[in-house]
């Protein structure tokens, strides 16, 4: 085997690819050959490192040097300085926000330091298209232990002991779910993975699929053994082409090594896994709808019971978990349930991956132990709010969740504490909003999404969300009346109680949570006809501050309505009757002379 004195890891996750990492890889390979280093230094394309904001990311081992926002022109310098002469290229190191201090090592960056990576243990460290790299990091050892030393019942018991709860949103105990499916009689059962990550603002499943697909396969195989399934499906969104490609490679490689297929590892246990590409419907993230979609029908949910564990795919007992849940499983069996349960809170064990997005300095994926305070995630890992603006709220759990204001940021995060606050874990999307986000607009945004994605099967969801959306639209347009608030609350409560599936039951959450914490913003829209954050354009007026205006005329030239007039070098004016509130003038003004409010 060829030995190398160093490794260069180039991130090949979707984030970095769109920042140009493919080209970086190509140029790096050429440069290494040119400098005769290709026998000494190995170039590896990895999955996502999670710190997408800083992409393209290049890491050099054994030093663990973290180079960020690397451009093609920087490659020659990295190769000749660092790889040839051993001198770190200082200017490409990560600079800590605020202190501006350069951080040479991967492990010392605040974004990573606070994290505890279990699910993402391999993401960014291995080449996801080579099964050997996964195996080298104790991959498939958990499965080997299960198949050779444990009975299915022991596997179920171990899962129950670990306390792992479903990471897809609901937080149902995984061990219990497996037990139901394993107790269902019948020779044919299915193991299913929900990789239809549809929550806008969440991308942890994609990272696992792209960066460490074998951990999902191993988790599913352990689950299949526990419940007695010999066939399984991975339902992936078609919007994730790279994830689908890597999964296909992973399945082929595992089959070749006898880790998947007939008589796995020489035992009696056999299991086939298939990939099903989703066809674009958010409701298919609901388990009964997902199974209807695999069967080739419209992806509409069915009433439960019967639960999938009794009557699932093609009416056979089935177990369905999401990607992050399965990716936890190999670790539980490798190190034992007790070890796993040392992390987290009493009722929520282990870690959770959050997708940090929105108005944050450091966006990306952060995996933290359950029970950490939101403040730590947002201000320490996330680096605080962009452009030194003020924090307003954080939306947790996507369109099914709710927003949490400043005063609750110190609550330890777990499934139950979030529900008490009117939000939910959901898939773990954290969208941070600052003072420039309007909470009524945000609520309308989410409801617009769930309304569009409502499958139309049950009336509360189909009609109710539509009526709620109409009311929100009216409020944003400045036509709200005081009764609207109570109507929203009543409708929301009815939909929550009567909708058929999780989509409908949680759809009113964003509205109810914003009403709970930001009622004054609704009231400002309705009573004062003002949008305090300056977002709802119907409620805004644009003005020029005469003292700041230099009379350059840039605003007048860009105004599509011809609403701005004035003499050269004299303060200009906006004719509010002509103004269409498009905001073009604000973007053009270099002197901050135009304000809205």
């Amino acid at each position: 085997m060829q030995l190398y004195r160093g490794h260069v890891l180039v991130c090949g996750g979707t984030g970095c690819v769109s920042s140009g990492s493919k080209k970086i890889q190509e140029v790096m390979a050429n440069e290494l050959t040119k400098q005769n280093l290709d026998k000494e230094i190995k170039l590896v394309e990895t999955g996502c490192h999670g710190f997408c904001e800083m992409g393209p990311i290049v890491i050099v081992y054994p030093e663990g040097t973290f180079y960020c926002q690397v451009q093609v022109d920087d490659i020659a310098e990295i190769v000749s300085e660092h790889l040839l002469k051993g001198r770190i290229v200082q200017r490409l190191l990560f600079k800590a926000p605020v202190t501006e201090e350069q951080v040479p090592s991967y492990k010392d960056i605040a974004f990573y330091k606070k994290q505890h990576r279990v699910v993402l243990r391999n993401c960014g460290h291995i080449d996801p298209e080579h099964i050997q790299e996964y195996i080298a990091r104790e991959g498939y050892e958990g499965l080997a232990k299960v198949l050779t030393t444990m009975t299915p019942q022991q596997v179920v018991d171990e899962m129950k002991k670990s306390g792992l709860r479903g990471r897809g949103g609901g937080g149902f105990p995984t061990g219990l779910k497996w037990e139901f499916a394993s107790k269902s009689p019948g020779p044919k059962k299915y193991i299913i993975c929900n990789a239809d990550e549809g929550d806008p603002g969440a991308f942890m499943d994609r990272s696992v699929l792209e960066g460490d697909p074998h951990s999902l396969l191993e988790g599913m195989l352990i689950g299949a053994y526990a419940i007695g399934a010999d066939e399984g499906y991975i339902y992936v969104r078609a919007e994730y082409p790279l994830a689908i490609k890597r999964l296909k490679v992973a399945i082929a490689q595992a089959e070749e090594l006898g880790l998947l297929g007939d008589n796995i590892m020489g035992t009696e246990f056999s299991c086939q896994l298939h990939i099903k590409e989703g066809a674009g419907a958010f409701v298919c993230g609901e388990e009964t709808a997902l199974m209807a979609s695999i069967e080739g029908s419209r992806g509409m949910p069915n009433p439960r019971p019967p639960f999938p564990a009794v009557k699932g795919l093609w009416e056979k007992p089935s177990n369905i978990n999401n990607v992050e849940t399965y990716a936890n499983v190999p670790v539980i069996f490798l190190n034992g349930a007790d070890q796993f349960a040392t992390l987290g809170t009493e009722k929520s064990k282990g870690t959770k991956v959050f997708a940090l997005t929105g108005k944050l300095r450091n966006t990306g994926l952060a995996e933290v132990p359950m029970g950490i305070a939101l403040r730590e995630i947002i201000f320490e890992i996330g680096g605080g709010i962009m452009d030194d603006k003020k924090f307003k709220a954080v939306q947790i759990g996507g369109p099914s969740g709710g927003c949490i204001p400043e005063q609750h940021l110190d609550t330890p995060v777990d499934y139950d504490s979030l529900i008490a606050l009117g939000a939910m874990m959901g898939s773990g999307g954290l969208v941070v909003m600052d003072e420039t986000s309007c909470m009524v607009d945000v609520a309308r945004f989410f409801l617009n999404f769930t309304q569009k994605e409502s499958c139309g099967k049950c009336t509360p969801c189909r009609e109710g969300t539509k009526r709620m959306l109409e009311i929100l639209q009216k409020i944003c347009d400045g036509k709200g009346v005081p009764e609207d608030i109570t109507t929203l609350e009543t409708l929301g409560a009815v939909i929550k109680n009567t909708a058929l599936c999780g989509l409908g039951q949680t759809a009113p959450n964003p509205v109810l949570a914003t009403l709970r914490y930001f009622r004054h913003e609704y009231e400002a829209h309705i009573n004062d006809k003002k949008c305090p954050a300056g977002v709802c354009s119907a409620l805004l007026e644009y003005k020029i501050v005469a003292d700041n205006c230099k009379g350059c005329g840039a605003c007048a030239r860009v105004c599509p309505a011809g609403a701005i007039t004035g003499e050269k070098k004299e303060p200009h004016e906006i004719d509010t009757s002509k103004c269409i509130k498009c905001g073009s003038c604000i973007e053009k003004c270099k002197f901050n002379a135009i304000v809205k409010g």
Binding site: T14, G15, V17, S18, S19, F51, C52, E53, G55, E197, G198, D199, P200, G201, A202, F203, R206, A238, E239, Y240, P241, K276, E277, G278, A279, G280, A281, F282, S293, I294, E295, G296, S297, R298, G299, M300, W314, A355, L356, T357, G358, K359, T363, G364, L365, Q395, G398, P399, G429, V431, M433, S437, V442, F445, F446, F449, E453, C455
Partner: protein, 161 residues
């Protein structure tokens, strides 16, 4: 194999579709993968193709139509050579995704869900592309473009013929 004894030679597309039928013959839940493959071959799902699929899979056209119209991925009308997908998900929304969508409309003159007459572009909005760290994001065909600003859009789209 064609067993209808017709004289007309089959088009290349029909021959491709024939391979798909063979691959999924007798398999459960074949409808959606067959529709996906057919759309890859034809670029969209013409009515005749739906009738053909109905006959081959022995599924009523009404059910197929129901499935096709349920999922966002399927299209009953011809599509542009370049598919422009602007993300309007949460992260992109708070970072100005709507302004990107406006810039796209301005650059190529079509609204969300429309296709240009020369079939060069189709414009769609999507709820999330999973690249939220780089918001606002847009995808053209299989390439993701992040950290966009409205003034970058026209030049970016110009590159796709």
């Amino acid at each position: 194999m064609c067993q209808c004894n017709c004289e007309e030679p089959k088009s290349n597309e029909a021959l491709e579709l024939e391979k798909v039928y063979v691959k999924y013959e007798g398999k459960k839940g074949a409808l959606i993968p067959v529709l996906q493959a057919a759309q890859d071959i034809y670029g969209y799902l013409p009515a005749e193709v739906l009738k053909d699929i109905s006959a081959r899979l022995r599924i009523p056209v009404s059910k197929i139509y129901g499935v096709v119209t349920f999922y966002a991925q399927f299209h009953l009308n011809p599509r542009g050579r370049n598919i422009v997908r602007v993300c309007l998900g949460t992260a992109c929304h708070v970072r100005g995704g709507a302004k990107i969508a406006e810039a796209v409309t301005k650059a190529i003159g079509i609204k969300d869900g429309e296709t240009t007459e020369d079939l060069r572009y189709t414009f769609e909005s999507v709820a999330c592309l999973g690249a939220c760290g780089l918001a606002p994001v847009m995808m053209v065909n299989d390439e993701t473009h992040g950290r966009l600003t409205p003034d970058k859009i026209a030049a970016l789209l110009e590159k796709y013929e």
